[in-house]
């Protein structure tokens, strides 16, 4: 049973290798699906196992004992995120195939997409810091290629910023890993908590700051977010949907591990302030933009702020709220980018100035946008409301009134910028061009619409199943906070 944990990484990687030999587009698509769905099935099996047995599944690669092996660890948080990640990548794959864009036709799109999926999954399952660094490199390398696959001038321009920034992030991370190894003699997550606790305070703070900066760049928190709204909008819609939904969340996941496992509860004040500023700056950036993709990209930053805020509060309730927020945010953000992809395919632009009257042309499309948009703003009864409510309540219980106020104001401003997209793109008279205005947007590419519909349905399902899911998030949070249990579970003693 324990060797199952490594399969969701191995299957996409092997599929990518086969696809590079087998260049036929038809076979590549079939193989992509088979690989992602079988990984998803394994991931669900792992989740069920972890959920029911309350144990941590560990695979030690090469069968080395204890801390010598490269271990893949699936606790509740990691297992559920792997399932969500594979669900999202499978759905976006349907969308990408339906989109038939230039990059999907490239023989490298599918292999690279598989490699990125493997990297994301490995990052969630990594049982030591160096493995985590390698996972980051795998997913980043694949994302560089996806971002610049068409090689247009605009993509190269923004791709450059993205690549340079992320390379520097990797360097910071690897310095942190090296110094932590120098200070403690281990990189294993199960050994680190005890060894780090023995270090002098100054060394601990330095190491923690290095990790926070490295993962903060990846998660796009306040002073380190500027690369994101610049680079995501130029990626093809299918790629930017996965980037938006998953890549920054890998950063948040790592921040959770740093703040709960490696340095439990330290520097909360800093994290709290960073969270508040991230929320505020992100949403203000979003309001000033005139392009749908850019508005949505700034919202990623703003929403990350809420999760960082939850992390800054600390304690079981807040961590549970953060985990719930993380799970709710991935499908919501992905579906917004998918709707944007449908609009862009239809109108050839994502600028609010050149798109209008979509609600009259396709009420269904308007609904597909409205549900995740209102969820993002946090209107009841959608999943965003529950996630925000949980975080705000945890904040109030802990007495962080200023940051809670900021969170509520930001929620309102989020609504304002969603209304901006709604007024610009969905209201008004449809374009006069008869050829365009007669065509049915959703039927033009059924599989794109189905994929988007599936994502929206998932976010509604999260709202309906919020009770059990929140309990699960609570269990996951208790497990994440129980450092001793993690250490024992991974060592297997």
């Amino acid at each position: 049973m324990t060797s199952l944990v490594v399969l969701p990484v191995l299957i996409p990687l092997c599929a990518a290798a086969v696809m590079l030999i087998l260049r036929s587009p038809m076979w590549q698509r079939v193989l992509s699906f088979v690989a992602l769905l079988s990984s998803l099935a394994v991931a669900i099996a792992v989740l069920v196992e972890v959920w029911t047995d309350d144990e941590i599944l560990v695979t030690r690669l090469g069968g080395w004992p204890g801390s010598f092996a490269i271990s893949m660890v699936a606790d509740r948080l990691a297992a559920v995120l792997v399932v969500v990640a594979l669900g999202v990548t499978s759905t976006v794959l349907i969308f990408a195939i339906g989109q038939r864009s230039r990059d999907e036709q490239s023989p490298f799109y599918h292999p690279v997409y598989m490699v990125m999926t493997a990297g994301i999954v490995q990052a969630f399952l990594a049982g030591d810091l160096f493995n985590l660094f390698v996972a980051f490199e795998i997913l980043l390398m694949a994302s560089y290629v996806l971002l610049t696959l068409e090689g247009t001038r605009e993509q190269i321009r923004s791709g450059t910023t993205y690549v340079v920034l992320n390379v520097i992030e990797s360097l910071v991370l690897v310095v942190a890993v090296g110094l932590i190894f120098g200070a403690t003699g281990t990189v294993n997550f199960a050994e680190l908590p005890a060894r780090l606790a023995e270090l002098p305070d100054g060394v601990r703070n330095g190491l923690q700051l290095l990790l926070l900066v490295a993962f903060g760049i990846k998660a796009a928190v306040f002073p380190l977010f500027f690369w994101l709204p610049d680079s995501y909008p130029t990626a093809p819609s299918s790629a930017s949907a996965v980037f938006a939904g998953l890549l920054t969340k890998v950063g948040v996941y790592c921040l959770i591990r740093v703040q709960t496992l490696l340095f439990p509860g330290e520097m909360r004040g800093l994290v709290l302030v960073v969270g508040a500023l991230t929320m505020l700056v992100g949403v203000i950036g979003a309001i000033s933009q005139q392009d749908m993709k850019r508005i949505l990209s700034f919202h990623i930053v703003s929403q990350i702020g809420y999760m960082v805020f939850g992390l800054g509060i600390g304690g079981t309730a807040a961590i549970a709220a953060t985990i719930f927020y993380l799970i709710h945010h991935i499908p919501v953000k992905t579906s917004l980018f998918l709707v944007e992809g449908i609009i862009e395919r239809d109108s050839g632009s994502s600028s609010l100035a050149s798109v209008s009257g979509l609600a009259r042309r396709s009420p269904m499309l308007a609904m597909l946008f409205l549900v995740p948009a209102l969820s993002l703003a946090g209107l009841p009864p959608l999943s965003g409301f529950l996630a925000k409510f949980a975080i705000v309540r945890a904040g109030l219980d802990d007495g962080h009134y200023v940051v809670v106020t900021v969170a509520l104001v930001v929620s309102l401003l989020t609504l304002v910028s969603m209304v901006k997209i709604w007024v610009g793109a969905f209201w008004g008279e449809p374009s006069n061009d008869r050829d365009i205005s007669q065509a049915n947007i959703l039927l033009a590419s059924p599989s794109m619409s189905v994929a988007t519909g599936m994502m929206v349905a998932l976010s509604i399902a999260i709202a309906i199943g919020a009770g059990p899911l929140y309990e699960f998030a609570g269990d996951a949070a208790r497990q994440v906070l129980d450092v001793g249990g993690y250490v024992v579970g991974v060592r297997g003693s």
């Binding site: 490199e137 190269i156 450059t160 340079v164 609010l352």
Partner: protein
């Protein structure tokens, strides 16, 4: 660990950081290469003790092989990244015939809109932003 190792690290980081802040992508790529080497020296100096080659069966004062394995992986990854950056620079040059890393177009548009608003005191018009 000697003062010379610190000096090497400091020089590599200094040169690398300076080059990364340049506008030309080729220099940035070279800077990343230099920084990467600095990082590798950090891992080796911070992580390992000097001693005999750690081969199974030998005894005595052995070096810790793990930092070397880490650095080996880091070198391979750094090599791949450097290649990709150079490819980007080449592609950029074939498209634009220069090697500059440009500002974000949309950012510049918003900044110039704000300037115009400051001058005229007007509210922005929706049409202003059509490129």
């Amino acid at each position: 660990m000697s003062v010379w190792e610190f000096a090497v690290i400091a020089v590599l980081f200094g040169v690398g950081a300076y080059m990364v802040t340049e506008r030309s992508l080729t220099r940035i790529a070279l800077g990343v290469g230099v920084l990467g080497n600095g990082v590798n020296v950090v891992i080796i100096t911070a992580g390992s003790n000097t001693g005999e080659a750690p081969i199974l069966g030998r005894t005595g004062d052995l070096t810790d092989p793990l930092p070397q394995a880490l650095v080996l992986t880091a070198i391979v990854i750094g090599f791949a990244l450097l290649t990709f950056l150079m490819t980007l620079a080449w592609r950029n040059w074939t498209l634009t015939h220069d090697d500059e890393v440009e500002d974000d177009v949309e950012d510049r548009m918003i900044a110039s809109r704000a300037e115009r608003m400051d001058k005229s005191g007007d509210q922005p018009h929706h049409e202003d932003v059509v490129p």
